[in-house]
Symmetry: C2
Subunit: 409 residues, 2 copies
């Protein structure tokens, strides 16, 4: 395990239990003996589920499985293993997924189609799903409401800290809870990332509504982060709603009662997404890129991601260099409408260029001080429209190369 990222949050939040969700972890020996590598989550009957999956054209077997099973909108169990991605494993991969779902369904007394799967780790090596035989009954027996931290740790690969977030929301007269955990930390890019994130709530929300809320929230969170611009074959974000809370029925995604829930869900998704960036491989600086004045929100996000993905920008940030020339370059290459003579860039709140050139005599001292810090802020105003977006990224350091030159993922 590598040293904890210098960008890790000061403390891991404690997550309260959530009615209808039980969790357990075990060491199934998928890749390493004695390492916790499998997570089982069990959901009470009536749990609805929504998901956002990788757009990779070569998805893993579990991603294909989830895409199919999401159609029903019902979930009773979730099995996640680390150590092996079950990706590019052909027919044996599909069989391993089917075997795992059947095993979990039998042990937890539900249908295989209600079991959701994810695998993360090495690509192209067959997943020995029979390894789950020895642990599945024990997982079901041990599953308990409060095991969030253990769950978050079980799915880690190159992550240096567990990623958890929680929020509560008023829904009618009830207060509902939203808990989530996630893993990064390489191949982090929109659509989506080698990223697994599981979010749970005791709210009672029909699956189609849940799907609408999740898709919108994912765009503002997991699809607005990038570590290296690479997209995994296995990215999975699931949102499970157990319905244990007692509140007025939700009528649709625009139900006014959902306002606070939507905000809280977005906050949890953004918190988890930011933690993934804070654990980006080799990251030493957390960078917020705020784009305003673009032709549309979509254009703003694409421009933000072009900046956040640029190796030239990221190496400059690693060196503490406020190299706005490279930011201009990245804006230019995004392919979205831009006008050099209207573009303005601020770093750490100091306007350093505008109207087609550098601001004459701007004060470099606060910029240099800001650049020496851990949390950087870049603001870009295109000056041509009302589109805005915020994107988060990290710098590109020697450690990224060290990590990815040795870890076979």
């Amino acid at each position: 395990m590598a040293t904890v990222s210098p960008l890790a949050p000061a403390a891991v939040p404690g997550l309260p239990p959530l009615a209808g969700v039980r969790l357990a972890t075990a060491a199934a020996g998928i890749r390493y003996a004695g390492r916790t590598d499998v997570l089982l989550a069990l959901f009470d009957p009536g749990t609805s589920v929504a998901g956002v999956l990788t757009r990779s054209k070569c998805p893993s077997a579990p991603v294909e499985w989830c895409r199919e099973k999401l159609k029903s909108g019902k979930a009773r169990a979730l099995v996640v293993n680390s150590g092996n991605a079950n990706a590019f494993t052909g027919k044996s991969g599909r069989e391993a997924a089917k075997f795992t779902a059947a095993l979990a369904a039998r042990a937890s007394r539900c249908k295989p189609a209600e079991v959701f799967l994810a695998s993360t780790g090495v690509i192209g090596e067959p997943l020995k799903a029979t390894q789950f035989n020895g642990v599945m009954d024990g997982l079901v027996a041990a599953a308990k409401p409060g095991a969030w931290l253990e769950a978050a740790k079980a799915i880690m690969t190159t992550d240096t800290f567990p990623k958890l977030a929680t929020a509560s929301a008023a829904l009618g007269k009830a207060t509902v809870r939203i808990n989530g955990f996630a893993k990064g930390a390489g191949m982090i890019a929109p659509d989506m990332a080698t990223m697994l994130a599981y979010v749970f709530t005791d709210a009672k929300v029909p699956a189609p509504v849940l799907q609408t809320l999740l898709a919108a929230g994912a765009d503002r969170s997991f699809n607005s982060i990038t570590v290296d611009g690479d997209t995994s074959t296995s990215d999975t974000l699931l949102l499970c709603a157990t319905g244990a809370a007692r509140h007025k029925p939700v009528t649709g995604p625009r139900d006014a009662h959902l306002k606070d829930f939507r905000s809280a869900l977005d906050a949890v998704l953004i918190d988890l997404a930011q933690q993934i960036v804070r654990d980006g491989e080799g990251a030493e600086k957390f960078v917020t890129i705020e784009v305003v004045g673009a032709a549309s929100a979509r254009a703003a996000r694409r421009i933000g991601l072009a900046i956040g993905n640029s190796p030239l920008v990221k190496t400059a940030l690693a060196a503490g260099d406020a190299n706005w020339g490279r930011i201009v370059m990245a804006v230019g290459k995004a392919g979205e409408a831009a006008d050099r003579d209207r573009l303005a860039i601020s770093i750490g709140g100091t306007r350093i260029c505008e109207r087609g050139g550098p601001v004459p005599g701007y004060d470099e001292a606060p910029v240099a001080k800001h650049m020496a810090g851990r949390d950087l802020h870049i603001a870009v105003d295109l000056g041509i429209g009302g589109g805005r977006a915020t994107v988060w990224t990290c710098d590109l350091t020697h450690r990224y190369i060290d990590i990815n030159g040795s870890y076979r993922s």
Copy 2:
């Protein structure tokens, strides 16, 4: 100046004179005193010109100048400076471009609209074009046919070696010459790269025909390379045809007499493009990515570039790791049609995966030996169509980060 790239060609080719082109270089003190930083090329009357320019939405002032002047298809002079990119310099940048063209036109007795410009170096600092006052008359007086190597050196920035290429071609009963030189070496990505490339021929080819040939050749060369996926504000590729050679008039881009010329032009463009990759910042391995079986040639190129741009692939290559899982990942993220179960990947000629998984028991020894070398070959067969493309890239090393964490471009 950094150590010469380990991937540099064994020898710099000697370029013969080319009728109708004269070259001179000087030290104008644009950024550093005493460093050669300006190139003047003079063309005989009747020279036609074609160009491919950056697609950046924030292009430099010289790029805007060239885009406008290319419409006439006539060139008499070219002025290129290093040290300052005259990009994101607003109104003063446009004035500096205009001033430079007027100065060169006066000294070489042509129209300002027949003068082409390029600037490379720092972005966002005003170009002191008046510095050219002191050298322009001397440049015109000194211009001579054979100064190719000096010209190639004058436009270098972070390049570690000068990049030149030459070929001859039969055109009717005449033999024509094609000479070219280029610079890299960061922000190298298609559409295009921080890349300046100038190619000259004594063939007599009308500007519209020249433009068609150049655009097609650029797609197979400069638009098929990538170092870091970043695109500069200043990329410029020009092709000037002096028409000094005596041959049958060219009737159009599909004129059968042009067959050999087209091949020779492509060879020069590919040679220069490959040299840019060989001088990619920090590059230690030159990588050829051959994609076949894609839905179309365009899809094949996009898949090749997705592989060539992936930081995870590039760090694995740097470490000599035949990590085909990351190649699968990159194929998947390209967004083009792919079928995991038909995909096949070979490295160094050894088929290592096919039909949705690794080739059982393939011989790892020749693959490991290949990966330890300087020139790597990755072949990807999508197995779904007839589209093919070849893309060239380099690995991502610690030196890339060192170079880009200190050089302000």
